[in-house]
């Protein structure tokens, strides 16, 4: 079912070379390197505090690395601000929800299309016809996306009136509205019940099939093992292992780290 390419033929969409960041004395990510091939589902796992979210923050420009390189399609992008990376097709969701609660659910999704729209304020003030038309089309498109992520019941909802699980999906819809090439999902199934988790699992498959490269951080090992083409394991900010699900499952270092961390209920 899942294509498991042994060697990457083309330039990887994303290459990370010796990436590091320190927060004062905390070395949250240390010399991490890996490649992500286009169109795959790539997972990053590791115990709490391993540096997974920090890695996402580095790649999406939220943090500036202390050292190392990030290559998008072979071009260095480290240190670029998030809005620049967004232009290059990088989208993400957040582990700690980042939904704009001062807006409706639909508007949150519409914001995802920011870069594709005419942002001229004078045209906006005077209801320029082309701008209005584009906005109405976007309304429909955002509604489609909300249906796609299973939020058809929340089309008219205010974001601050939605449940946790619904907000998690809303973030995915917003990210998809960017029409990204690379989508980073930080624990999309955290706090969801088994049924909702299964729905997210299916959703990620659908997104990947549509051609988006998905990078996933997730603690639900069943989901990670079944979804991922490749897996990167982090521990204390360092790369512990990288490989296919089968390889990771048998890696002694990984097993030791997980048992050592005493991660209850997580059976790699």
């Amino acid at each position: 079912m899942m294509a498991r390419t042994s060697t990457a033929p083309a330039t990887p969409v994303l290459s990370v070379r010796d990436l590091s960041i320190n927060f004062g004395g905390v070395r949250a990510v240390q010399n991490v390197s890996f490649d992500i091939a286009s169109g795959c589902i790539y997972s990053v796992i590791g115990p709490n505090g391993a540096g997974k979210t920090t890695l996402f923050n580095l790649i999406t420009g939220v943090y500036v690395p202390t050292a190392g390189e990030i290559l998008l399609d072979g071009q260095p992008v480290q240190g670029q601000p998030p809005h620049r990376l967004a232009r290059r097709g990088v989208a993400r969701t957040f582990q700690n929800l980042q939904v704009c609660l001062n807006m409706t659910a639909l508007e949150n999704v519409m914001v995802g299309a920011h870069l594709r729209l005419d942002r001229n304020v004078l045209k906006a003030a005077f209801r320029w016809p082309s701008l209005r038309r584009a906005d109405q089309a976007l309304h429909q498109e955002a509604a489609e996306l909300m249906r796609f992520v299973g939020l058809e019941h929340a089309l008219e909802a205010r974001a601050d009136a939605m449940s946790y699980g619904a907000l998690k999906r809303l973030e995915i819809a917003r990210a998809l509205a960017m029409k990204p090439r690379l989508l980073f999902l930080d624990e999309p199934a955290a706090g969801l019940n088994p049924r909702e988790t299964l729905e997210i699992d299916e959703l990620i498959r659908k997104v990947a099939v549509s051609g988006v490269t998905v990078v996933l951080v997730e603690h639900d090992m069943k989901m990670v093992m079944s979804l991922s083409d490749r897996i990167l394991v982090l521990d204390y900010g360092k790369k512990l292992a990288e490989g296919t699900a089968a390889e990771i499952r048998q890696d002694p270092a990984v097993i030791a780290a997980y048992l050592g961390a005493g991660a209850a209920g997580e059976t790699p």
């Binding site: 942002r119 005077f126 906005d135 909802a157």
Partner: protein
């Protein structure tokens, strides 16, 4: 049970209804009001409302606080007073020059500030307001110092605006256009980007919003707007004193935004109405206005942080919801919120 289309017809949107109601009110008021005292009050309410609309885009929608907006009003007012009086400029050109100066000053000031995090804008604008006020006070040879100076009449296309009725129609038209434009802006890509950076700056950044640029754009816009309204106020009143650029005046404007309702266009109007009338009502307690405004600001922050109109709307909304529930009985379906 999938609802197909979500767009509400234009005519039914509350914003549209509000705009129509406002237009009707604007048309009817001069028929009802014969007393020139009240006409003057209405004009001053409308002027404040327009300023507060611009300020609310900055404070309520984009989440950036300015405590120096009276300074920008002052720039416009004094441009319209000084340039025609001392240099013979036509009033319209003076107004434009004032607006350009306010925009340039706002841009120069905002450029470094918005690259930093935190509430530096509030402090910087506070300082700017104080400095401008001092300049207007001290440059007596041009500005008349603390006593102020007369402002020549506004001329539009060779027509002099002198009578209150004429001013009423000019300002009423400006108010309607401003409300309409504000509503349009908040419901546009530009406006959504502003609201998004207020809601979550990191979320806005990762979807591609250059937040420093957007904060700067709205700050410069609202400063320009304030300057234009400063010019108009000066021409309307026919006289300008440094009080227009006073710190207290800035606080007054912020109070109108907060009391009426942050991020509420019609709330801005309500805030302007209430807090323009209040000083009239408090006229007998001269000197206590400042205290009253401070108290209102604090009480509002504590008991109605969202402001008057949004709070009332929410109350009304939940009431309507409850009534609908009662009527619907147990026929209601999904309840996932």
């Amino acid at each position: 049970m999938i609802r197909p289309v979500i767009l509400r017809p234009m005519a039914l949107r509350p914003a549209t209804l509000g705009l129509v109601a406002l237009a009707v009110l604007v048309l009817v008021l001069p028929l009802v009001i014969s007393n020139s005292f009240y006409l003057d009050l209405v004009i001053r309410i409308a002027i404040n409302a327009i300023i507060v609309l611009g300020l609310n885009l900055l404070i309520g929608f984009a989440g950036q606080i300015s405590f120096g907006h009276a300074g920008f009003l002052g720039i416009g007012a004094y441009a319209s007073a000084v340039l025609p009086t001392h240099f013979g400029w036509p009033p319209l050109l003076a107004l434009i020059a004032g607006a350009a100066a306010a925009a340039a000053l706002a841009a120069v000031m905002a450029w470094p500030i918005f690259r930093l995090k935190g509430h530096y804008l509030a402090m910087a604008t506070l300082g700017l307001g104080i400095i401008l006020n001092l300049i207007f006070r001290n440059e007596a040879s041009y500005t008349g110092g603390p006593d102020g100076m007369a402002v020549p009449a506004m001329e539009l296309f060779g027509l002099q605006l002198s009578r209150d009725r004429q001013w009423y129609w000019v300002i009423a038209a400006l108010l309607l256009v401003s409300v309409w434009a504000s509503l349009n802006i908040i419901d546009s890509p530009f406006g959504r980007a502003l609201r998004a950076l207020h809601g979550s700056d990191v979320a806005a950044r990762v979807v591609g919003v250059d937040i420093a640029r957007y904060k700067m754009a709205i700050f410069v816009m609202s400063a320009t707007f304030a300057s234009i309204m400063g010019s108009i106020t000066a021409h309307y009143v026919g006289f300008v004193t440094p009080n227009i650029a006073d710190f207290f005046h800035s606080v007054e404007l912020v109070t109108m935004v907060v009391v009426g309702g942050m991020a509420s266009v019609f709330g801005s109007l309500l805030g302007a109405v209430l807090l323009t009338i209040l000083p009239q009502a408090l006229a007998t307690f001269e000197g206590w206005e400042t205290v009253a405004f401070g108290a209102i600001l604090i009480l509002c922050m504590i008991f109605m942080p969202r402001g008057l109109l949004p709070t009332l709307a929410a109350r009304l909304g939940s009431l309507r919801f409850a009534v609908a529930r009662l009527r619907a009985g147990r026929s209601a379906g999904e309840s996932d919120s």
